[in-house]
């Protein structure tokens, strides 16, 4: 067993935020390289409307092209019941839903209030339960919001609790714009872990301002052992063209292994995946 679990979100969160539309076969090759690197959990696509997210228009082909494997959890992001049904019809191990700790970010990003988003997820949670698949919740802007500025720790805590009550087995707390400092992350995690078990929390950091690895250390100190990252830093930063976005998987894994924390990941193969991911960005 690994000490820490690294969730690879490059094929979805990463590629969704790249301007370039990556061909399906290139996505499947990237996913295969990540599997060869023994990433145990892959967020591979989003069952969203191609009108809103053309980068994920091939979600059915990507899921069909990624067959199940022992020890692999294939996760797909779904915005609503319809997306969940379509994903389940093909077969997945996990559905993921996405909301925010910031009301303004929720309205701008998913076009509804936070509480409306949770309501919209209720039938998704019911489908996950009935089909025996995991449900994962994302909370964006848990520390900083591009519109509202600092977010109160209480807001992140409330949304995380609502997602667990919905039926999530894990909630990922995100610093969506990379502006969170270690002290901000510390305050947020102090609030959230006071009410929720750290073993069921993940953190999702962006490295836009170089804080990601420091924030990982804060999260480790709070007992969190599940981290999201994107191979090759895929995704960039939607608010600052050219700037780093998602924490890159290779530096994350190196950082963890340097601390003596095993990840179970094959570094040589991860480098192959990083090299390939870099080519997909250009």
């Amino acid at each position: 067993m690994a000490d820490v679990t690294v969730i690879e979100v490059g094929p979805r969160d990463g590629l969704q935020n790249e301007k370039r539309i990556v061909p399906t076969d290139d996505k499947l090759a990237l996913i295969a390289l990540l599997r060869a690197a023994r990433l145990p959990r892959l967020e591979i696509t989003a069952f969203v409307s191609p009108k809103w997210v053309p980068q994920m228009a091939d979600h059915e082909a990507v899921l069909r092209g990624t067959p199940p494997a022992d020890g692999l959890i294939r996760s797909v992001l779904v915005p609503n019941e319809r997306g969940a049904q379509a994903a389940l019809a093909i077969g997945v191990e996990e559905l993921a839903v996405f909301t925010s700790a910031s009301e303004t970010f929720a309205r701008k990003n998913i076009n509804c209030s936070i509480s409306d988003s949770i309501g919209r997820f209720a039938p998704v949670a019911e489908l996950a339960r009935r089909n025996g698949v995991r449900l994962r919740g994302y909370v964006s802007c848990t520390v900083e919001c591009p519109y509202e500025g600092p977010i109160a720790p209480q807001a992140a805590e409330d949304v995380a609790i609502a997602l667990f009550e919905l039926g999530c087995v894990e909630v990922s707390l995100a610093d969506t714009i990379g502006r969170a400092t270690p002290s901000g992350v510390d305050a947020m995690l102090t609030a959230v872990t006071a009410r929720l078990p750290s073993a069921r929390l993940a953190c999702h950091f962006h490295d836009t301002f170089g804080h990601a690895l420091n924030n990982i250390d804060i999260a480790l100190a709070h007992g969190i052992g599940i981290f999201d990252s994107a191979v090759g830093g895929l995704g960039g930063c939607p608010y600052a063209p050219g700037a780093a976005g998602n924490l890159s998987t290779l530096p994350l894994v190196r950082h963890l292994e340097n601390r003596g924390l095993s990840t179970g990941i094959d570094m040589a193969r991860l480098k192959d995946a990083e090299t390939f991911a870099a080519r997909l960005r250009s």
Copy 2:
């Protein structure tokens, strides 16, 4: 439509002849990269006994891990009816059978006479027909044999005819040890194409002595437009450790494209596959 069809045999013929046992996920990553490079036909594994060929022991996992795709022909080598049934139960587009133009090579390599091998393929051919999948035949040592030396063109011709009569839609004529010279290939192809349509013949050259691309030119002159190759030259030469074996896909495709013959292959992605294949050898 491409002018010339390149059959990628690296994952099977290549990896079967490497000493190192490559992990399944690495094979799947290689196959995914080859698909991203738009290789239209992939020989992905062999349904043979792991006792005889431990390199292919994961044949079921490799086939299951390579889902069907539009425009892709997944080929697997089968030595007998049992292998064919197992492959068909999972799903393939092509079964391939392997014999020789050299009696001695047949006895040493597949442990029976040439005519016995054809007899053993009859139920395989029947299964292919009933299941509507392609049947491909390989003839090894069509020009030179490591045991017998030069092979009479008549011998290659007879075996190729027997394979077509069996029900093969294509027969691949191999220079298994790379010792065939252009004049030897010319004599063999003159004999075979006098009796069989060149459109249903393929050539499979080894580059051990640097003759492969010259032999390709001879084959092109005989109207042959289907060539086998192995990404990164996987497979080496079973008779000369460290020496080149299978013709490498990248130089083959470059050679063809330089002659103005289109292959439909994405060169940038093929380079990615070559880079990855090279890492699997070490």
